[in-house]
C-alpha cells in the first residue's frame, strides 16, 4: 500500500493522469471504491498537503493533484453514488473575497475524499448565514485570502449564534497561516493549515456535530 501511495503521489505531482488512473484501478481490483478513496486517495492528498506546509511542494501542484483526484474519484464514485459521504452536511464558501483558488482546492479535496458538498461560491455574511440555515449545513468551511474577509468570519459566527445555529465553522487561508491565533479570535471551531487537513477536521467535528 505504501508503495502505491508513493507512486500515486509521484504521478500526481508530474500531472500524469494516465498512470494515476492505472494505479487506482490496481487498488480497486482488491478493495471497494470507498476503500480505494480512504486508503489511497486520502493518504496521498494528505502527503501532498504536508509537503506544501513544509515548503517542498508548490500550491500549483496541490491544485492540479486535487483536480486530478477529483476527476478520478468522480469516476469511481459518481455523484449520487450511495457510497459517497453526504453526512455531515458540508457547506463551502468564500466570504466577500475575490480570490477563489483556495476554495477550489478545498472543493477538489472534499470531492476526492468522497464527500458531497454545497459550494456557495463568493457570498456576503448575510447571504451565507441565510443559506447555511436553509440548507441545514452542519459544518461550514470558509476560505479566505484577504485579512478583512478573515475578520468577517466573526460576524458569521455572531449571526449564526443569534439564529440559534450550532453549525461548526472551519476556516483556512493565508491570514490564518500568518497569525496562528486568528481562527480563535474570529470564533471559528477549527483552522485547516492546508486543504487536505479538512478531511481529518470534518471527521473530528462530524463526530461532535
Amino acid at each position: 500500500m505504501t508503495e502505491l501511495v508513493f507512486e500515486l503521489e509521484k504521478s500526481l505531482l508530474s500531472l500524469d493522469r494516465l498512470t494515476a488512473r492505472q494505479l487506482l484501478a490496481r487498488q480497486q481490483a482488491t478493495t471497494s471504491s470507498f476503500d480505494t478513496v480512504e486508503q489511497l486517495i486520502v493518504p496521498v492528498l494528505e502527503r501532498i498537503g504536508n509537503g506544501w506546509t513544509a515548503g517542498n511542494i508548490a500550491l500549483s501542484q496541490v491544485y492540479m493533484s486535487g483536480r486530478i483526484c477529483e476527476e478520478l474519484v468522480d469516476e469511481l464514485l459518481p455523484p449520487g453514488d450511495p457510497e459517497r459521504k453526504d453526512l455531515p452536511k458540508l457547506g463551502l464558501a468564500v466570504l466577500e473575497d475575490y480570490h477563489m483558488l483556495g476554495k477550489r482546492i478545498v472543493y477538489a479535496v472534499l470531492r476526492a475524499g468522497g464527500f458531497e458538498v454545497i459550494d456557495y461560491g463568493r457570498v456576503t455574511v448575510s447571504e451565507l448565514v441565510e443559506r447555511v440555515q436553509a440548507d441545514r449545513v452542519k459544518i461550514l468551511l470558509i476560505s479566505t485570502l484577504m485579512l478583512p474577509s478573515a475578520l468577517r468570519v466573526k460576524e458569521v459566527r455572531k449571526k449564526l449564534n443569534q439564529a440559534g445555529s450550532s453549525v461548526k465553522i472551519v476556516v483556512g487561508g493565508a491570514p490564518f497561516l500568518f497569525d496562528e491565533t486568528l481562527w480563535q479570535e474570529v470564533q471559528a471551531d477549527a483552522m485547516a493549515a492546508r486543504a487536505s487537513e479538512v478531511l481529518e477536521i470534518i471527521s473530528r467535528l462530524g463526530d461532535a456535530a
Partner: protein, 352 residues
C-alpha cells in the same frame, strides 16, 4: 535627518544596497492605505485624487520617520487600466472584480493599455511627480509594477491561469503582452520621479510554483523584463517563500528581495550576502495585535539576524501593511528601529 542619523534616507538606502553599513538600518514601512487614516478619508476617496496620496505619504513619512515614500496605490490599479473593475472595501485594499480574460482565446486579441493616457495610471504618475517635487533626493520613492508572470491572476483568475500554464503558446503570448506593459509602466513611474520599482512577483514564489518551473520559465521572463526597466528593482514575493530560488533571483538583475517571515532570516541573509539586499520580514498580519514590547522585540530580532554588514532594509514581509495595524504599533516599530538600528550593531550577540 533625525536624531543620531547622519545620512539622508536615500544615502542610507544606497549604502545598504552597496552591502555596506550605513548610519542606521533603513526602515521601509510600506503603508498604502494608512494615508487615508491620516486624512480622515475613506480608502476609496483617498485613492480618487493624487493630491490625497501625496499628502498621505508625506504625513506618513514625517510621523513614522520612514525611509521611503511608497507611491503604490493598490494592486488592481494595473488591471483597472485594462478595463477591469475595482472593488473597494472600507477596511482593506481594493480587490479586482471579475476577470476580463473570460476564455483563453481572448488572449490572442489582448493589447496592453497606454500607460500615459489611462486615468488610473495617470493618477499614480501624477502623485509620483508631486512627491518627487516635495521630497527631492532626500528619500527614495518606491513605485510598484506587477511582474508579467503574476499579473494574470488579476487578468483571468488564479484557477484559469494555472490551467493556462499547460498551454505554452497562449501562455507565452500573454507573457509577451504583459512584459511590454510591465516595462512601459515601470519606466513611466521612473520617468515621473520614482527612484526604484518594487517588482511584485508572488506567483513565482516556490510557495505557488515549483522551483524547477521558475528556472525553466520564469527566470528568463524576469531577466528580460528587468533588463528593460530603466532603474533599480526590488523583487517581492509578497509573503511567499524565496530561499530555493535566491541564486537565480540574483541573476535576474534585481537588487533587493522581499522575504517571508516563514523562512529563517539569518539563512536568507547568508544566502543573499553580497548579491541581494534583504527586505523584510515583519509579519503584517500578526502585527495587528502586537504590544509595543512585542513590536520592539520583533524589530530587534530582525535587525540582529539580518542587519550586520548592511544589505538589509527593515520592512514587513508582504509589501503592504494591513489597514488594521494601529498607529501606536507602527510608532513602536519605528521607535525600535531608530533605537536598535544604529550601526555598529554592538548589541547584537551580546543579547542587548
Amino acid at each position: 535627518m533625525n536624531g543620531n542619523d547622519s545620512l539622508s534616507s536615500l544615502q542610507r538606502v544606497l549604502t545598504t544596497l552597496g552591502h555596506q553599513e550605513p548610519d542606521r538600518v533603513p526602515l521601509f514601512l510600506l503603508l498604502s492605505m494608512h494615508g487615508a487614516k491620516e486624512l480622515g478619508l475613506s480608502i476609496k476617496k483617498y485613492f480618487s485624487r493624487p493630491e490625497n496620496v501625496v499628502e498621505g505619504q508625506l504625513r506618513i513619512r514625517a510621523k513614522y520617520k520612514n525611509d521611503c515614500i511608497y507611491t503604490f496605490f493598490y494592486a488592481p490599479v494595473e488591471v483597472e487600466a485594462w478595463g477591469a473593475e475595482v472593488i473597494y472595501v472600507d477596511d482593506g485594499p481594493p480587490n479586482t472584480g471579475e476577470p476580463f480574460i473570460h476564455q483563453f482565446s481572448d488572449i490572442n486579441n489582448l493589447q496592453p493599455p497606454n500607460v500615459g493616457t489611462c486615468p488610473p495610471l495617470v493618477k499614480v504618475l501624477e502623485a509620483t511627480a508631486q512627491l518627487k517635487a516635495a521630497v527631492g533626493d532626500d528619500a527614495p520613492l518606491i513605485g510598484v509594477a506587477v511582474a508579467p508572470f503574476s499579473l494574470p491572476v488579476m487578468q483571468m483568475g488564479f484557477e484559469k491561469y494555472l490551467d493556462l500554464m499547460q498551454q505554452p503558446a497562449l501562455f507565452n503570448h500573454l507573457m509577451q503582452v504583459n512584459q511590454a506593459f510591465c516595462v512601459a509602466w515601470a519606466n513611466a513611474q521612473l520617468a515621473a520621479g520614482a527612484t526604484a520599482i518594487c517588482y511584485f512577483d508572488p506567483v513565482a514564489s516556490p510557495t505557488i510554483i515549483p522551483p524547477e518551473m521558475y528556472q525553466k520559465t520564469v527566470f528568463e521572463i524576469n531577466r528580460q523584463t528587468l533588463a528593460r526597466i530603466n532603474g533599480p528593482t526590488a523583487t517581492h514575493f509578497a509573503s511567499g517563500l524565496s530561499l530555493p530560488i535566491l541564486d537565480q533571483v540574483a541573476q535576474t538583475g534585481t537588487a533587493v528581495v522581499g522575504v517571508s517571515v516563514q523562512e529563517n532570516l539569518t539563512t536568507l541573509k547568508a544566502a543573499c550576502r553580497g548579491k541581494l539586499t534583504v527586505l523584510g520580514n515583519l509579519n503584517g498580519i500578526e502585527m495587528r495585535r502586537w504590544s509595543a514590547t512585542e513590536a520592539e522585540q520583533k524589530v530587534k530580532e530582525a535587525i540582529a539576524q539580518a542587519g550586520p554588514g548592511g544589505g538589509f532594509i527593515l520592512s514587513d514581509n508582504h509589501g503592504e501593511i494591513p489597514w488594521q495595524v494601529p498607529e501606536d504599533t507602527l510608532l513602536a516599530i519605528s521607535e525600535a528601529a531608530h533605537t536598535w538600528g544604529h550601526y555598529p550593531l554592538d548589541w547584537v550577540g551580546r543579547g542587548g
